[in-house]
């Protein structure tokens, strides 16, 4: 075993740190609105080869060679610097990898550059009121009429739909085909007539989710990714990216550090809570889970640098279930440390699993919000089915329609 990165990679890290010392931006740039500062620094990161590193330059990326260790160093250092690097939201995080894998040349050129430049925003249209875990039962139809798809139906749990320029989603285009074979992957402009977006209020009090209604809404015929009926297979690839996003171990480590910080500042019986033996027991147990997640991630990283992914298939299937459960434990422990302040309404300006805010209301918020990742991207019980059936070779469920 060797846990060092080696000279070449440490030299790369040194150059990257030098570059990242340019954040926050200074001088006149520091007077610009925060979003503009981020945009400028991200663009600089692309030019320097650190942001969207392995995406070809003709599609707006840095067009550099990369490997898993380089990617990890970039992730680590950007997180350390708190600098704007790769965006992980729906467009760059989910659609771009899908288009790069399955899109036509024309689609890549048209959609990827503005998405990476944050000039085109996306939402994901998968779930429907009647199709959650059983996503392939979806009923929203797209009918080809001349040179347009005509869409009717409803999507739900659509994050960012109000601010999105486009939706990528799954639509039933082949009503006569079998369940999975009748679905296509379409790109739909959100300003098309016949689209109605209605916000859904979440239990945290914020309104990130939406319902999206389609009443004869149209999108051009060429806005299909892959061929008719291939949408299901293509969406599996997108879901893989979403799960990777949720299973991010750095995020968990950051949350645990915040939990420890809360335990040091919260007071129990006139002393710091971290001195209470019961609190210490609980935090130590949680830290063990966090370290298990980190070392598992290290195993996966190491395997991917050596092309030995097969040796870590099982932990890869488990990481989403495992890490969302640990993050829930962290959120619950932090909540208990608040004591009676836990009776107050949460602070809900920024709904994000990346929020590791230690503010009192941020903790209350995360007590609720930490449930989100256990539901999104395949619920925990769906994960258990995957682990059981694909990982352990157990027989498929009884009488379930496939």
């Amino acid at each position: 075993m060797d846990l060092t990165y080696g000279e070449r990679y440490e030299a790369f890290r040194g150059e990257l740190r030098e570059f990242l010392s340019g954040w926050p931006v200074r001088g006149a740039e520091a007077e610009l609105p925060p979003a503009e500062q981020e945009r400028i620094f991200r663009k600089r990161g692309i030019e320097a080869g650190y942001v969207y590193r392995s995406i070809p330059a003709e599609y707006g990326g840095a067009g550099r060679d990369s490997d898993p260790l380089i990617d990890r160093i970039i992730q680590e250092e950007y997180l350390r610097a708190g600098a704007p690097g790769n965006r992980l939201d729906q467009g760059p995080g989910l659609l771009v990898p899908t288009l790069l894998e399955f899109g036509s040349e024309e689609q890549k050129r048209r959609f990827v550059p503005p998405t990476l430049a944050d000039e085109m925003k996306w939402c994901q249209g998968y779930s429907e009121p009647g199709s959650g875990s059983d996503l392939a039962s979806l009923q929203t139809t797209a009918r080809l009429e001349g040179d347009h798809w005509v869409i009717n139906g409803q999507k739900i749990w659509t994050s960012n739909a109000r601010h999105a320029d486009y939706m990528f989603g799954l639509f039933r285009t082949e009503p006569a085909a079998s369940k999975h074979a009748g679905i296509s992957y379409l790109l739909v402009p959100m300003d098309a007539p016949g689209i109605d977006v209605r916000p859904l209020k979440q239990m945290t009090g914020s309104m990130e989710f939406n319902e999206v209604f389609f009443d004869d809404a149209r999108t051009p015929a060429e806005n299909i990714v892959g061929r008719r009926g291939e949408g299901w297979a293509i969406s599996r690839a997108t879901l893989k990216h979403e799960r990777n996003l949720i299973g991010n171990p750095r995020l968990m480590t950051g949350q645990f550090d915040v939990l420890l910080q809360i335990a040091r500042t919260a007071v129990r019986n006139g002393r710091p809570a971290v001195e209470d033996p019961a609190v210490r027991q609980r935090l130590a147990e949680i830290e063990c889970y966090v370290r298990a997640c980190e070392t598992t991630n290290l195993r996966m990283l190491s395997a991917s640098t050596r092309g030995e992914e097969l040796s870590v298939m099982l932990p890869m299937m488990m990481i989403k279930l495992f890490s969302t459960e640990v993050m829930e434990q962290i959120a619950c422990a932090a909540f208990d440390l608040l004591g009676s302040d836990g009776l107050l309404e949460p602070w809900a300006e920024n709904d994000s699993i990346y929020d590791t805010s230690a503010t009192l209301r941020g903790v209350v918020h995360n007590y609720m919000y930490s449930l989100g990742p256990a539901i999104a991207g395949g619920t925990s019980n769906i994960q258990r089915n995957i682990i059981g059936e694909r990982g352990l070779g157990l027989p498929r469920d009884l009488r379930a329609e496939r």
């Binding site: 990165y5 210490r280 298990a292 190491s302």
Partner: protein, 359 residues
């Protein structure tokens, strides 16, 4: 950067796995378990021939000169097989003599221990449950020791006992020493029987060394127990998966019911992601000494706790059969009990994790 096993390490595991499966299949394991000796000279001889008896002993002294990582990987396989035999105490005794013995003492004892010709064990716990070197109270008076130790693995088999003393020192007491009384404790894990030792001015040879060496041996014990528990828990998971695939109720394998399937998925998810914890702790012991004590405590506290949960679920999923003496699940269940309790339970080590983290 490599956080994985080398070809040699994988081969070592395969060799031990193959040996255990071939020489100690379920019926033989059951015979040894029921006999209560926790030992089979042929098994010990076989392990010794593979170099397991002296795995960490330096090559000039007849050992394989490998690290704690390799030892932990072997322990994992012994846990998978619930293999009876004195390997655990023997390996710790070797480490203690390696770390605390003088050159002459190492020369005198280690070659015979490395070849497996002589067997050694360690005496850590004292009445009242004191496991850690910091709390050992036995004191030497010149060349003699007096007092009591408990839970000494395979004591009745051992030619040498390495005894932990006040101040983190070690002394070696030879088999048949005057004033040494060994009383079988009827330990729950019959693959690793334990005994209480009473010393009444028993002749003992003091090793050098101090707390540093004793703490290293303790940390090695924690990692080895974690690795054994991982192996046992992983074996129980696979065993239960196979049972659930074949056991039929309501006209179908019970594995097809989601209640069962999800419980199995949870068992696997409790165990599999802990593999890196004992790898890391063992690697830290070998190469990152500052990290080692806390990493060992984390591996021991967490893996043995998860293994106990998995063992309980394994019994439950085997139904009434799982609750019987004749069902083999109990062998690994009890192996996990030993791994959890020996050298201090999860709560003890969680308190240490907090203290070592400067919380």
């Amino acid at each position: 950067m490599h956080f994985g096993l080398t070809e040699e390490q994988l081969l070592l595991q395969e060799t031990v796995r193959g040996f255990a499966a071939g020489e100690c299949p379920a019926p033989r394991l059951r015979e040894i378990f029921d006999a209560g000796t926790g030992h089979d000279p042929a098994l010990w001889k076989g392990l010794a021939e593979m170099g397991i008896a002296g795995l960490t002993v330096p090559e000039p002294l007849g050992g394989a000169g490998l690290g704690l990582l390799e030892l932990a990987l072997v322990m994992e396989e012994l846990g998978v097989a619930a293999l009876p035999g004195p390997s655990f105490g023997h390996a710790l005794a070797c480490l203690a003599i390696q770390l605390a013995g003088s050159d002459a003492q190492r020369q005198r004892w280690l070659p015979d221990l490395a070849s497996g010709e002589r067997i050694a064990t360690v005496a850590f716990a004292e009445p009242g449950g004191a496991w850690d070197p910091e709390s050992w109270s036995l004191a030497a008076e010149g060349d003699h020791i007096s007092g009591a130790k408990r839970h000494v693995p395979h004591a009745s088999l051992a030619d040498l006992v390495v005894v932990g003393l006040r101040g983190g020192r070690f002394a070696v007491v030879e088999r048949g020493a005057r004033g040494l009384r060994i009383e079988d404790e009827r330990g729950v894990d019959r693959t690793r029987p334990i005994a209480a030792l009473a010393f009444d001015r028993a002749p003992a040879e003091l090793l050098g060394g101090d707390f540093t060496a004793a703490a290293r041996v303790r940390d090695a014990a924690l990692v080895m127990l974690a690795a054994d528990a991982f192996g046992a828990a992983w074996h129980l998971t696979r065993m239960t998966v196979e049972y659930a695939k074949t056991r039929q109720q309501f006209g179908t394998p019970i594995a097809q019911f989601q209640a069962v399937k999800h419980q199995l998925a949870d068992m696997a998810t409790q165990v599999e992601p802990t593999r890196g914890l004992f790898w890391y702790a063992a690697h830290a012991w070998d190469a990152l000494p500052d990290e080692a004590p806390r990493a060992a405590a984390i591996a021991k506290a967490h893996i043995t706790a998860r293994a106990s949960e998995v063992a309980r679920a394994a019994v439950e999923l085997h139904g009434g059969l799982g609750f019987t003496w004749e069902c083999d699940v109990q062998l690994w269940f009890k192996r996990a009990m030993f791994d959890r309790v020996w050298c201090g339970g999860p709560e003890h080590h969680r308190a240490r994790i907090a203290a070592l983290g400067d919380w």
